[in-house]
């Protein structure tokens, strides 16, 4: 099955809200899909990768675009998913 690419807008949200939005969004997305998270809080640069490591998702990349960060991850298997 082809994986899909999704976008999550977490701009202007301050941590941990971007992680909370991502956590909720991931629970609706099949494993293997990609998510691009758009953030403005610089703390997401460390928080989202940490959250991915803890919960079994793969960090694909972090791109800085002016005052924004685009953090891309691949959704992991059910093992690490939020209940």
């Amino acid at each position: 099955m082809m994986s899909e690419r999704h976008t999550l807008d977490a701009r202007r949200l301050l941590c941990p809200m971007p992680v909370i939005r991502l956590q909720d969004f991931v629970s609706t997305v099949p494993s293997g899909d990609l998510i691009d998270v758009f953030c403005t809080d610089p703390g997401t640069r460390s928080d989202i990768p940490a959250w991915c490591r803890i919960n079994g998702h793969q960090l694909v990349g972090i791109e800085e675009q002016r005052d924004e960060l685009v953090i891309t991850l691949r959704v992991g298997s059910g093992e690490g998913r939020h209940p």
């Binding site: 202007r12 301050l14 941590c15 941990p16 992680v19 956590q23």
Partner: protein, 357 residues
């Protein structure tokens, strides 16, 4: 002939605990103590909107380059446990607005807050098939919520009852269900009490924990007198003890001045705050000096022409044109209309101390 049947030993069900992880040392140690006993532990962290979690650092330009981490996530990673964030902003309002046990020195409803967090953990425990709750509370460490008479109140009010285990001070308290059932060994729990941090530091050292968050000034904005004054002012001005997330976030940002009962100004103190306030331009009438560089100012409240002129003079006061004879100020209504006002900046003597919130 006798047949020998080999029976595999019964494997006890793995007990599962949910730990309230704040990101500080105490909750980290509490979770670690239970992990050491072979219990499966997962963490939850509640976001109430009042948490001091580097928001001002994320907003202010000078702090944006500083390395920042979410301490709860960091703790979970160090412990090797999962962490589940819970958005508790709406549910928490009732705790702040109607605390059953009242406030502390400021608008901090500490006892109700502890009960609320234990209640959310208890609900999470039930929903996810876990067995008990772990917190990092220490007897008599805090004046309001951790006194001997308060700890049972938290267990009762939250509904968690004796499924609430406090590994750091368990030996001062009656045995809980996890201790009585042998899910954890009470002998390996602790008897910490009081404000001294020495026992925690020694225990951390014994676990090889060298790095941990040491929050300065507490972990909740509601314990801060300046922040609490701004929240009280917000309620008084609106005639309603309520708030939205944006309201309480804005109280963390900028200078707040109330020159009239019907409006206040929120004025950015530096570039990062101005950028953050720009995100609210569609919700608030706002203004900024045009003829001189200066901050963005949001107007919270209903204003007439005289109020707008006063607000423009105040905005000019905080611009580089504060000593100029006239400053041109761009006024943008939240509906989209904009115009220019030429005003004389207020002098420092014309800005009474009591305008500052």
């Amino acid at each position: 002939m006798t047949t020998l049947i080999k029976i595999a030993p019964m494997r006890a069900k793995e007990q599962k605990a949910v730990a309230l992880i704040s990101g500080g040392l105490d909750s980290m140690l509490a979770a670690r103590i239970v992990l050491e006993q072979g219990v499966h532990v997962e963490g939850i962290n509640l976001f109430t909107g009042f948490c001091v979690e580097g928001h001002t650092h994320a907003i202010r330009k000078k702090d944006r380059q500083r390395e920042k981490r979410n301490n709860a996530l960091w703790v979970a990673e160090q412990l090797g446990i999962k962490l589940h964030f819970i958005d508790a902003v709406d549910a928490y309002k009732d705790v702040v607005i109607n605390p059953k046990h009242g406030y502390g020195k400021n608008l901090n409803p500490c006892l109700d807050c502890k009960s609320f967090m234990a209640r959310i953990a208890y609900q999470w425990m039930l929903a996810n098939g876990f067995d008990f709750i772990v917190t990092g509370e220490v007897l008599n460490q805090r004046p309001m919520s951790q006194r001997r008479r308060c700890l049972p109140v938290i267990a009762v009010d939250s509904g968690a009852g004796d499924r609430l285990l406090r590994p750091l001070c368990a030996k001062h308290l009656p045995a809980t269900l996890p201790e009585r059932e042998g899910w954890v060994d009470r002998e390996q729990l602790h008897a910490f009490h009081g404000r001294s941090r020495k026992p925690q530091l020694a225990l951390a050292a014994s676990f090889g924990i060298e790095d941990y968050a040491q929050p300065a000034g507490g972990c909740c904005f509601l314990t801060d007198s300046s922040y609490s004054n701004k929240l009280r002012d917000l309620w008084r001005a609106r005639g309603d003890r309520n708030y939205e997330l944006d309201d309480i976030m804005l109280l963390k940002v900028g200078r707040h001045l109330r020159p009239r009962n019907n409006f206040k100004l929120i004025i950015g103190r530096e570039e990062g705050e101005n950028r953050f306030l720009e995100g609210y331009r569609e919700r608030f009438t706002h203004m900024r000096a045009l003829s001189h560089s200066g901050p963005l100012a949001l107007i919270d409240g209903q204003v007439d022409e005289n109020d707008l002129i006063l607000a423009a003079r105040l905005t000019a006061r905080f611009s580089q044109g504060r000593d100029a004879k006239s400053v041109s100020v761009q006024v943008n209504e939240c509906q989209g209309d904009s115009r220019r006002l030429n005003v004389v900046p207020l002098s420092s003597k014309q800005v009474p101390r009591e305008w500052y919130l």
